[in-house]
Symmetry: C2
Subunit: 338 residues, 2 copies
DNA sequence: CTGAAAGCGCTTACAG
DNA sequence: CTGAAAGCGCTTACAG
């Protein structure tokens, strides 16, 4: 109810100077055992907790890390956050999360907002090519680690998944089954995952010109998935296999396939990226490119801790996994729409 | 690169005292137009931004709100957060999120951690009956609003959904179809939603003793859903309708039904709580009790703002919606296991 | 209307 | 090893 306990209250109770209390608490070496004991007893008795704002003001550090993500409801983030937080907590840092809804301006706003409250950032930018974001990052006076984002012009710390390798494996699997027209419906081309996949597919079949790849990058939305699938199914050179770039896109693809009454894999093969809870009830089981978020969270947090301690710049590339399922089969004999 | 711009730099540039700069920035009435203009020009020219820590230390307020939730990956929260944040931002507050993973001790830790960094809290407790949590709340020296949590002994601000009304509507719908044995598989009984539903079901059929209700509260997990369904399907008085208390529980229920090769609604009717993205691909469409999270987020934020401005205690009760679908049908003729 | 001074609660050189 | 003093960057009575 009354004014919270301050360092002076502790000092009075222990009959020492405030500076001594500070030394004891911060683990300064020069403290006599007797004084340390008296101070600790007083801290305990009064339930003293140092004022973080005052500490931050004086020290210039807050022992807090800011995490900015485009979509906290993505289950991938949940696990990432959990492990990142554990790693940071173990090192004495708290984790604060901000949600930017995929809006670059919101990234920037949160950066400004959190800048003075944190010692560093974990950043999953909404758009790694956005001019405002890039310049905000350049001016940012706090260390940060990019999460599955890559700004190649700049030498930033980042943790990346190897999306390129994953998509190559999946596409090669389809090609080996006999598919010659494969379509990739992917999301926002302004973030690393989409770009990495796009580039990898581009170069994947340079030595197999008989395999045709069509790519449709736009947004991680059911709408994009549905419209693009509609378009593909109506086209002259209808693909025999579709790769959906995210769960949201997959939802759209499935809507279109259902409406066209097409069967998987008899009429068309299907691969999707990332697992989702309800996926198991969809028939047939869908081949999935998946990734380990716990590992990612730990790695990212550790990288930021390294950065805070001044260790040299590093990038981490984490593997993704392709899990073939019965949604992929050899293509049916050619059936052209009349 | 160098030391950030401080209020003294602005004061020097504008040739006024720091106190005058402070008055201009905080909108103090006693400032001459000429000085105001000079100061504003200097602020602009130097790109000055007040140090939040210093302001917080001096004023005792941080213009920040803390949100603690058990599971940020729950899509319901995503929308809630978005609207709560908009409302708070409009009032000049920032929103910081912490994830407690459904662990009461983590609630308490985050409360302690954030206490000095925020002016108030939005709290979705992991366990509203936990002794540690309740006492931490009692000692908390910051205002807060409970999100779909109810600690009836205490007079706290809270926003609640009317889960009781929703479940009554759904159960009555099933009873009117002819169901006489209805099972509710629900989650954590230590939070308001489960408790409200449980109580409502208890009293719902007092005037219709022919309708039997069985309730199984435990945890919002697929495992609980699956095991309980297994048990129910093997029991003497197998229910003719099941209500799943969450998407996670539904997943378990569906796993069990699939394994038992039971058809919905021919063999058993099904109702679930909350919508999920992939739900639309499950056959048949499942009757759902749903709720508006945007409205909830706005209401909760507004309530906290009210509280911060000292307005009297209020609780808000928001409606939920029952959407019947073809997963509900009259029960088949009794088939007892031999 | 404006400025000089004190102080929010800490930490950290600086003496001793 | 310990204490007194200065100061982190602000705001707010207090004079004038």
């Amino acid at each position: 109810m009354s004014r919270p306990i301050g360092i002076r209250d502790v000092a009075n109770k222990a009959a020492v100077a405030a500076s001594s209390v500070s030394r004891v608490i911060s683990g300064h070496p020069n403290v006599s055992p007797e004084m340390k004991e008296r101070v600790l007893a007083a801290v305990e008795a009064l339930g003293y907790e140092p004022n973080i704002l005052a500490q931050g003001l004086r020290r210039g550090s807050t022992q807090t890390i800011g995490l900015v993500v485009p979509d906290i409801s993505n289950p991938l983030f949940s696990e990432l956050v959990f492990h990142a937080e554990n790693t940071l907590n173990a090192a004495g840092y708290a984790l604060l999360i901000a949600n930017s809804q995929g809006v670059p301006d919101s990234d920037i706003t949160h950066l400004k907002l959190l800048r003075q409250r944190v010692d560093g950032f974990l950043l999953s930018l909404s758009d790694e090519t956005d001019k405002g974001t890039v310049s905000a990052l350049k001016q940012l006076d706090k260390p940060f680690v990019l999460l599955d984002r890559d700004i190649s012009k700049a030498k930033y710390f980042s943790v990346l998944w190897d999306h390129g390798a994953g998509i190559k494996t999946a596409a090669a699997y389809l090609a080996d089954l006999g598919h010659r027209r494969i379509a990739m419906i992917d999301g926002n081309p302004r973030v690393h995952p989409t770009r990495a996949r796009s580039q990898a597919l581009q170069s994947a079949f340079e030595d197999r010109p008989e395999v045709h790849i069509a790519k449709y990058d736009a947004s991680f939305s059911p709408d994009h998935g549905e419209r693009t699938t509609d378009f593909l199914l109506g086209s002259e050179s209808r693909p025999t296999a579709i790769i959906a770039g995210s769960v949201q896109i997959l939802i759209g693809v499935l809507r279109s396939l259902r409406r066209h009454k097409l069967r998987v894999p008899e009429d068309i093969s299907l691969v999707t990226i990332d697992h989702a809870p309800m996926l198991e009830f969809i028939e047939p089981p869908i081949a999935t490119i998946d990734r380990d978020c716990g590992d990612f969270g730990r790695t990212a947090a550790q990288l930021l801790l390294d950065r805070l301690e001044g260790r040299p710049m590093r990038k981490h590339l984490l593997p993704v996994n392709f899990d073939p399922k019965s949604s992929c089969a050899p293509p049916a004999d050619e059936v052209r729409p009349t």
